[in-house]
């Protein structure tokens, strides 16, 4: 599939901002299954300084600084991106999950070495024994890793309610687990925490999802949103993406922006400003499928 993805963020401040430093992770990365073409970037007011770099995880980061007094900030990124279908390996053919835990540490291959850091706790994914308990019904002894994890994916989808009113990014995972509610970020963090609690390596993926309008209805422009899911490292195979919010394995409909240990590594836009008072925020995302 080929998409035109538009992500527009607008801040308005009650007071004037004198100086503002920002980092955006809004430019899609290149992967074996995804090729971003040109991105068009519009920042208003125009930044005094702007620089692009790759971060530790290989994500594209845009730094920009505004040095003149302003009361509003708009960041619009428009990217054309092609996404190829991905083949999910045969779940029954994957190694037993206990063997995968051991292999992660024993395999001399470079990918496993890189993956091991994603088995550790991270700022938004603190260790919690209750999460291992939640995962265990899916991870019965000897069960093939992919089968078990697809079952966990399905259970989170079925047992949790998608509720945008319930959580903020500061809501702890224990609260999400107890209330069985949350949004895509919470479900991704929850699944990552379950897998890490078992000794597996899992990372957080940010991106977009093409929303298919109900039959007969037109596609609403700007009604889409940022999305988040996770990827699991399968020793001997590599990373496999999973979307617990939609109970699926991401394929052509998922556009990948960035990945890291958790949300903190891939926040789409963050900034520190001097002045400004209170602010309001508007975000509009549009994932428009293009004719091939």
């Amino acid at each position: 599939m080929r998409y035109a993805v538009t992500h527009r963020t607008a801040y308005r401040y009650s007071g004037r901002v004198a100086l503002c430093h920002n980092e955006a992770r809004l430019l899609p990365r290149t992967t074996p299954w995804q090729v971003p073409e040109a991105s068009h970037l519009a920042i208003t007011p125009a930044p005094a300084l702007q620089a692009e770099r790759y971060d530790f995880f290989g994500n594209r980061v845009l730094y920009f600084a505004l040095q003149d007094l302003h009361q509003a900030l708009e960041v619009e990124v428009k990217t054309l991106v092609s996404v190829l279908p991905r083949e999910l390996p045969d779940p029954a053919g994957s190694p037993p999950w206990e063997a995968a835990v051991a292999l992660l540490r024993e395999l001399p291959e470079l990918n496993a070495m890189e993956a091991r850091q994603f088995a550790l706790p991270s700022p938004f994914v603190a260790p919690d024994a209750a999460l291992a308990d939640y995962a265990l019904p899916s991870f019965t002894p000897g069960r093939p890793l992919l089968e078990a994890v697809l079952d966990l994916n399905r259970r989170i989808h079925c047992e949790f309610t998608y509720d945008p009113q319930f959580s903020t990014i500061a809501t702890p995972l224990s609260e999400v687990l107890r209330s069985r509610r949350g949004v895509c970020q919470d479900f991704a963090h929850l699944a990552i925490a379950c897998l890490r609690a078992l000794g597996l390596a899992a990372r957080y993926v940010s991106g977009y999802l093409e929303t298919i309008p109900p039959p007969g209805k037109p596609r609403l422009v700007g009604a889409d949103a940022s999305h988040a899911w996770l990827a699991l490292f399968v020793p001997g195979h590599g990373w496999v993406d999973l979307d617990p919010t939609n109970n699926c394995a991401p394929d052509e409909q998922h556009v990948t922006l960035a990945w890291g240990r958790d949300y903190a590594d891939v926040a789409p836009l963050k900034g520190v400003m001097l002045g400004g008072g209170s602010h309001t925020l508007e975000v509009a995302v549009d994932v428009e499928p293009l004719e091939a």
């Binding site: 963020t9 801040y11 100086l19 503002c20 430093h21 920002n22 980092e23 005094a48 300084l49 620089a51 770099r53 790759y54 971060d55 530790f56 995880f57 730094y63 600084a65 040095q67 001399p108 470079l110 070495m113 890189e114 091991r116 850091q117 088995a119 550790l120 706790p121 260790p127 903020t168 990014i169 949004v183 970020q185 949103a225 940022s226 988040a228 590594d265 926040a267 789409p268 836009l269 963050k270 900034g271 520190v272 400003m273 001097l274 002045g275 400004g276 602010h279 925020l281 975000v283």
Partner: protein
């Protein structure tokens, strides 16, 4: 009589007397002074000879002198020193720890190699990461330690320096060999203390230090200064280097101020700096000035709220971006905290071979990273001998010997659940060294912190160290006994001080416009709070004096109620009985000494001291000593004190504040900094004077001669008045003295003229040809005074003798007061960059 004393005591060998009580080391332990056979080790001859010449009494006296010097210079390790809880000062032992030159040379070579190794390791971890790819280090070990900063990856340009300063904690094990206990990279403190110890002891023990065959420390600090200059990414003649401190609340603030002074760097806080155009700028009274190099004493994670800890108020937003942009160099670079990981130690020998192609010279204390199964088993089986570090919590250390059975089980369960997050180290008992205690020498376990600084090729090691008494090698949390470490030289070395031997070109500046705005603000508030303390102390002293003189009869003293008003107190509840009123008055007045009393003396002083500490490097040593004496006096005063103890203390405090401000006037260059101090002080004083006059002539419950006496006494003008008028008190004469007489520093007229002159000389934006708000306010107050109808005033106050003055005087004082009340805010608005605290943009999806 002295003859008989001498005869009664047999002549003894002073050296034997010095060592008489000092025990030889126990089996399987090492002592710095005595070998196992009780023979004095080489290297101690000079020290012992000089100490013996002083004798224990002389030594104790010199020790006391050294302590006094440290205390008065404010060398403390306690952030809350103005509180009544006695501040535990850092103390220094008068017995140095000598280390022979050849032994030090071997140790220094090991230290320099360790620094080189860590530099290579950091460049690899934050670059190609070959040590992980080749399996030399487990990735879990690196990533489980919070010192590894993902944001620092690839942040230095090719050739940039990661580790600029390196602190290494060392102890001698029982076999006498040095082992490394810990590495400090982010902001190793202690070099400044080592220097201050050396200087203090040299002053207190001149006979010991004058011809001592030891290596001097100054050359190391000179190398430090040179390295900082060379780090500048923009090469020009005089790069601007600043020392970034978390501020006066930080435990090591003394050292920051001390080093900044010694190395001639600007002492700045995060809010003084801003990142623009990919560079760092210092906000000064004269505008933004570029900064080339930052010697930072803020730990990695708190340096940049954009990319590191978002909640940090100490750092500079965009700092890492400026580093990546090549706009500024940090010493040391952000991310060096990764080498503070104690789990690296078992891997160092192999890393040293791989990265440097050398054998590791200096061993580390035996350590186990529990992420390896065989190490985990060893740790679980030997907890009693080990100290356990949870890697996520750098300040948390679990002593295995201190655990009971249950505690051990809980810990083992944690270790088995998350082995990668734990490192265990052998608990060692460091070698002992002689320490003066209770008038004799006692062996105490001692740990050293050595320092190295990057040079063009490799590292230079400081010829000396900070040593402290510690039973298990851990750094002291607060206070403690420190020792001066002597690296012995063949012969006495010449004294060198950076302060006397400046190298390189100096850019002469005189106007002081490069003063950070924040420093101006601190000096301004120092002036205000200092003057406020003075005014309260004078009023309270007057009240206590009356309580003492009149005893129970003070209840009838008409002035005391007005003094309550002047001090913003209320009498409140009065107990029944003949002395009830007396007790109530006494309780209210003495309540001003209470801890935490609103607008109490201690609260005012804490605010005063906080501002003084924030500008420690701008105040003279004598001025600061006066404030320190006041702090001690207030700290030793019980709460509440007796009437007379309180009065005596206030006498002393008024004198000390006089000494403080006098010393500032005599010593500080009369530039912008001093002007802000003076403006703060005189705004406070003019408000107090107007308030006192209002009290005496407008608001008084009991107007009349006794109250006028109080007014003259609290403004210290009684003598002046008597000299001039010699007789009874006339209200019109008092008014002339305290309102109009421009030659009297206590008069409103003088104070306004002084404020007008000072404010007129502050930096002025060139673009604005008009008078500033503060200039207009002063002018307004001066016209009110200048246009006053003196005849009518005299008429107005004539009636005061019998009643109160409404009319002219009340109105005059009100019209004076209004603009003066706005003056403080006007000055702040024009001159102190309103450093709003930076805030995070929050994006919710």
């Amino acid at each position: 009589m002295s003859d008989t004393m001498a005869e009664a005591r047999p002549m003894s060998d002073p050296l034997a007397e010095l060592l008489a009580d000092y025990p030889p080391p126990a089996a399987n332990s090492h002592d710095e002074l005595l070998a196992p056979d009780g023979v004095v080790r080489p290297g101690w001859d000079y020290v012992l000879r000089e100490l013996a010449a002083l004798g224990f009494d002389g030594l104790a006296a010199r020790h006391g002198e050294a302590q006094r010097l440290l205390r008065e210079n404010g060398v403390t390790f306690n952030a809350h020193e103005a509180s009544r809880s006695v501040a535990r000062a850092w103390s220094v032992d008068p017995v140095p720890l000598p280390i022979r030159g050849e032994e030090w040379a071997a140790l220094a070579a090991g230290l320099a190699q360790r620094s080189r190794l860590f530099e290579r390791l950091l460049a690899d971890l934050y670059g190609p990461r070959t040590v992980l790819r080749h399996g030399l280090l487990p990735p879990e070990l690196v990533h489980a330690h919070p010192g590894f900063l993902h944001a620092a990856w690839n942040s230095l340009a090719e050739g940039g320096r990661w580790l600029v300063f390196h602190g290494v904690d060392l102890a001698r094990a029982s076999d006498g060999a040095f082992v490394v206990l810990a590495d400090r990279a982010q902001a190793p403190s202690g070099a400044g203390y080592a220097l201050e110890n050396r200087i203090t002891l040299a002053r207190a023990l001149p006979s010991l230090y004058r011809d001592a065959p030891l290596r001097r420390l100054a050359s190391f600090l000179e190398a430090e200064r040179a390295t900082l200059t060379r780090l500048a990414p923009h090469k020009h003649e005089a790069p601007s280097v600043v020392l970034l401190t978390p501020g006066p609340d930080s435990q090591a603030y003394f050292e920051h101020a001390y080093l900044a002074n010694y190395l001639s760097l600007s002492l700045v806080q995060g809010e003084d700096l801003a990142v623009r155009e990919g560079r760092v700028w210092l906000k000064t009274l004269g505008g933004l000035r570029p900064v080339d190099v930052i010697l930072r004493h803020i730990t990695d994670a708190w340096c940049d709220p954009l990319e590191l800890r978002a909640e940090s108020m100490l750092g500079v937003p965009g700092l890492l971006a400026a580093v990546r942009h090549g706009g500024v160099a940090l010493a040391s670079a952000l991310g060096v905290g990764a080498i503070e990981n104690p789990g690296l130690m078992p891997f160092l020998p192999a890393l040293c071979r791989a990265l440097l192609g050398e054998e590791l010279r200096l061993p580390s204390v035996a350590s186990w990273w529990c992420g390896r199964p065989e190490a985990l088993e060893h740790v679980c089986g030997h907890l009693g001998e080990l100290l356990v570090h949870p890697l996520g919590e750098p300040y948390h250390l679990i002593d295995g010997a201190g655990l009971n059975g249950l505690g051990r089980e809980v810990l083992i369960a944690r270790l088995r659940r998350e082995p990668a997050r734990f490192v265990a180290q052998q608990r060692i008992r460091p070698a002992t060294a002689p320490v003066l205690a209770d008038g004799r020498l006692v062996p105490q376990p001692v740990t050293l912190r050595a320092f190295s600084v990057a040079e063009d090729e490799g590292y230079r090691v400081m010829p000396g160290a900070l040593a402290w008494v510690s039973p298990d090698g851990r750094a002291p949390v607060r206070g403690g006994i420190s020792k001066d470490v002597w690296v012995l030289a063949e012969a006495p070395q010449p004294h060198v001080s950076l302060l006397r031997q400046a190298r390189g070109p100096v850019l002469l500046t005189r106007d002081g416009a490069d003063l950070p705005s924040r420093v101006g603000e601190n000096l301004f508030w120092l002036g205000r709070y200092g003057e406020r303390y003075d005014s309260h102390a004078r009023l309270l002293r007057e009240a206590l004096q009356r309580l003492i003189e009149r005893g129970d009869g003070a209840a009838e003293d008409s002035c005391l109620e007005d003094l309550l008003t002047a001090l913003e107190l209320e009498l409140g509840e009065v107990e029944a009985g003949p002395r009830g009123r007396f007790f109530a008055l006494r309780r209210r007045f003495l309540g001003l000494f209470d801890e935490g009393a609103e607008s109490g003396l201690r609260t005012t002083f804490v605010a005063c001291l906080r501002n003084a500490r924030a500008v420690r490097d701008h105040l003279g040593d004598d001025a600061f000593r006066a404030l320190n004496r006041l702090r001690q006096s207030l700290g030793e005063l019980p709460s509440p004190p007796s009437n007379s103890a309180g009065r005596n203390a206030l006498d002393e405090h008024v004198t000390l504040l006089g000494a403080f401000f006098g010393s500032c006037n005599e010593t500080m260059p009369h530039h912008y900094g001093w002007r802000f101090l003076d403006i703060g002080r005189f705004i406070e004083r003019v408000l107090n004077t107007v308030g006192l006059l209002r009290l005496a002539f407008v608001q008084a419950r009991n107007p009349g001669v006794p109250l006028w006496e109080v007014v003259l006494a609290t403004t210290d003008n009684l003598a002046a008045y008597r000299r001039r008028y010699r007789s009874a008190l006339y209200p019109s004469a008092i008014l002339d003295l305290l309102l109009f007489d421009e030659d009297n520093p206590r008069s409103v007229g003088y104070q306004l003229r002084r404020l007008g002159r000072q404010i007129g000389r502050l930096p002025h934006p060139r673009s604005n040809p008009y008078r500033s708000a503060e200039e207009r306010l002063i002018l307004q107050a001066q016209s009110v005074l200048g246009l006053a109808d003196i005849e009518a005033l005299a008429e107005s106050v004539r009636e005061v003798g019998i009643g109160r003055a409404d009319g002219e005087l009340a109105e005059l004082l009100e019209r004076l007061h209004a603009p003066l009340l706005e003056l403080s805010d006007a000055v702040a608005n024009s001159h102190f960059s309103h450093a709003e605290t930076p805030r995070q943009l929050v994006e919710m999806l």
